[in-house]
Amino acid sequence: MPDAAAPNGLEILDPELISRQVREEVDRALKRNIKGLDFLVAEAAPVGHMPKDVLYREGTAVLYGYRPLQDEIYRVPLLVVSPPSNRGYIFDLAKGQSFFEYLLQQGYDVYNLDWNPPRRDEAGLDFDDYVGRFIPKALEVIEAQTGESEVSLAGYCAGGTLATTYAATSFARPIRNLILLATPVDFNHMPLFQTWADRRYFDVDLLVRELELIPPEIMLGAFDLARPANRPAGRATLWNNMWNDDFVKSYRMFDRWAAETLPIPGAYFGTLVKKLMWENALVAGTLEVCGETADLGRIDASILNIVARHDHVVAHEATAPLMTMTASSDRDEIVAKGGHVSLVAGPPALKRLWPLIDQWLAPRSV
């Protein structure tokens, strides 16, 4: 009988079902081999979908203004700061998979402070430059463009740390909303990085002196050691799904993004390790930017803190001071399913998280 169960719980043996399954698997195996060859010789996956304009460029810093999709947009513009070690196109991978496309469709005026690979003569760029020069300049350009002095400031990962630090300075322009995605603030709760950059063994000065620009392999190596099975398991999953064009397209875009991790300036890296990692200076209130102390207690903008439940890079605890040490009287937190990158890309974010961000931000953007 078709629905008789085998002793091990597996179903035996509906010939028609098995025949259909065999046909399907043979078909997929053929597609896997044909498409597998295509995959190996394919050029880099195209990324970046929404039309945008360069509004400001200064070495590594580049400000993009995205063209609004609606005739009527929210008053308060939104500036998203990318992490200096990653390309900003993760926010705009492809049609239907783009955070920026979603925001533009909802009627936001979206800007992105993104980073080109720094040149060797930019190895001396430090927190002072990112927080005290590039972000203020981007906001100045946005004000000139829109006539609005208030802004919603957002940041992802280290971009969020830069945005938070800027908001914690006395020279910060008026910030209406602060939206932080997987943003480390309390670096005592970054265990992998704490072990990797253990001050007893990690000679950060040697690295900065000899390399000037810190290549991404330095940090990616630590990630790979912490999660060594991710790459081979990812490849195996890709092979299983090689017949599925949508899966392969998505995989190739993420793979390109991961492979295009940027080097970072040595001076910035030095401050990141010595001040944030070793001294936890942002929480301790000892981080100096442009000669003055960044104070989380100075932040009174509405805050939306977004964390991923299975984030192995930035733990929930590392973001906690955003909810406890800031002066804001309007703070919300979203804990989303998934990992570090799934906050800013991928179908689950589009279906579940981004509508929540819109729901939070819309009434605060008029």
């Binding site: 629905d3 169960a5 719980g9 597996l10 179903e11 098995i18 399954q21 698997e25 360069v54 400001y56 460029r57 070495g59 609004p68 609606q70 005739d71 009527e72 947009i73 929210y74 008053r75 009627g107 040149r119 003569d121 265990p191 992998l192 072990t195 990797w196 253990d198 007893r200 063994y201 990690f202 000679d203 040697l206 000899e210 390399l211 630590a222 050691l225 912490a226 999660r227 060594p228 099975a229 991710n230 398991a233 999953t237 299983n240 909810m323 009287s329 309007d330 703070r331 919300d332 937190e333 979203i334 804990v335 989303a336 998280l353 929540l356 729901q359 819309a362 009434p363 605060r364 008029v366």
Partner: protein, 139 residues
Amino acid sequence: MADKPKSAPFNPLAAWQEAIQKWEHELNAWSGQFTSSEEFGALIGQATKATVIAQKAMAEQTEAVLRSLNLPSKSQIEEVSERLAVIEDHLAQMRLQLARFDSSAAPTPAAPEPRRTRKPPAAAPAPAPAAGKAAKRDA
């Protein structure tokens, strides 16, 4: 006798995928324990230092060989590339300034600017800040 719940037909690829996921979780969990130890910190610190010193020595040797062969070295090509990047940067800045000049000289804008008067949909709840308010949601 009541019907047994119908179990899913055996799918070897799904089983293979499941096995890979299990292996991935187990190996990552084991590695997570190792990489949080002080020994790992010492190891990675020393390895990073040794790699940087070795790379520097290798780069110097290679540079010397290339120079003797009258060929450009990596650092020289990087230098040219960076000078090109500086030129590109300046060109981009000039283009931006020219664009600003053009738009201020133009009698009418090419396309109407969107109105900044959008209101949230009626269903969206208005923010209700209260002292010390901190809400948490799952997505």
